[in-house]
Amino acid sequence: MTAVLFFLLAAVAVAAAVSLILQREPIHSALSLIVVMAALAGLYLLLGAEFISAVQIIVYAGAIMVLFIFVIMLLNAGVEERTQFSRMARYIGLPLAFVLGAGLVYWITRWTMGTASAASMGSVTRPLAMMLFQDYVFPFELTSILILIAIVGAVVLARREDERQ
């Protein structure tokens, strides 16, 4: 059951990621990326990380991608132009990329062992909160400063030129 769900979600994620690359309209790429994120949220559930799964849906697919789609529609981003590949990239680069990918898969499957056990940890949200607010409370507070800086930076950058004086 877990294996079936894994392969289903993995196939959806990879197909949507390929679609992100192949689509020429930015809005279609953005929708593909939302599908990738939803599939990854399902995989997180399979791995027993229900809190991160919910955060993935709410923050990534909800907030960040809405921001992307907002900007795409604001800028009226149209079809992008294709660039042509060099012949060397096609005849040398592609086979080398496949060799590298196959080697990567081979070494990963040789080095990493063990099975991911989802059910063994039980509910993970409470220990995660304990960890976040005890061991990692200083980085947690630092992220609030980071977000404050990001808000100020985004407002300053996106402000119109004639309002500067």
């Binding site: 997180y44 990380a49 981003a77 990567l104 990493t112 062992m113 056990s117 989802a118 977000i147």
Partner: protein, 100 residues
């Protein structure tokens, strides 16, 4: 049960697709989305190892990665708006000056 190596391979595949998107796309917003895809791939590897090792620190790191990605998206998209307003294009090949 699914071996953790499957998750790591899926993570590597998604990361590779993100790299391909970043290198081949010419629209600055799509390149930015490829970066988000790479961040997601790394998050998947973090959670897979967190699950197999029974250590929750990996999930805490994923939490921080998501926070940083949100901040990065806000600032990055502000820069994209600035570029689009000043250069009148989203094609990165036309954005070839150091000043905006």
């Amino acid at each position: 049960m699914v071996p953790v190596s499957y998750y790591v391979v899926l993570s590597a595949v998604l990361f590779g697709l993100g790299i391909i998107g970043f290198l081949f796309k010419r629209n600055i917003i799509t390149m930015f989305m490829s970066i988000e895809l790479m961040l997601n791939a790394v998050n998947l590897a973090f959670i897979a190892f967190s699950s197999v090792l029974g250590n929750l620190a990996g999930q805490v790191y994923v939490f921080f990665v998501i926070v940083v990605a949100a901040a990065e998206a806000a600032v990055g998209l502000a820069i994209v708006i600035l570029i689009a307003r000043n250069r009148k294009t989203l094609n990165v090949e036309r954005v070839n000056l150091l000043k905006l």
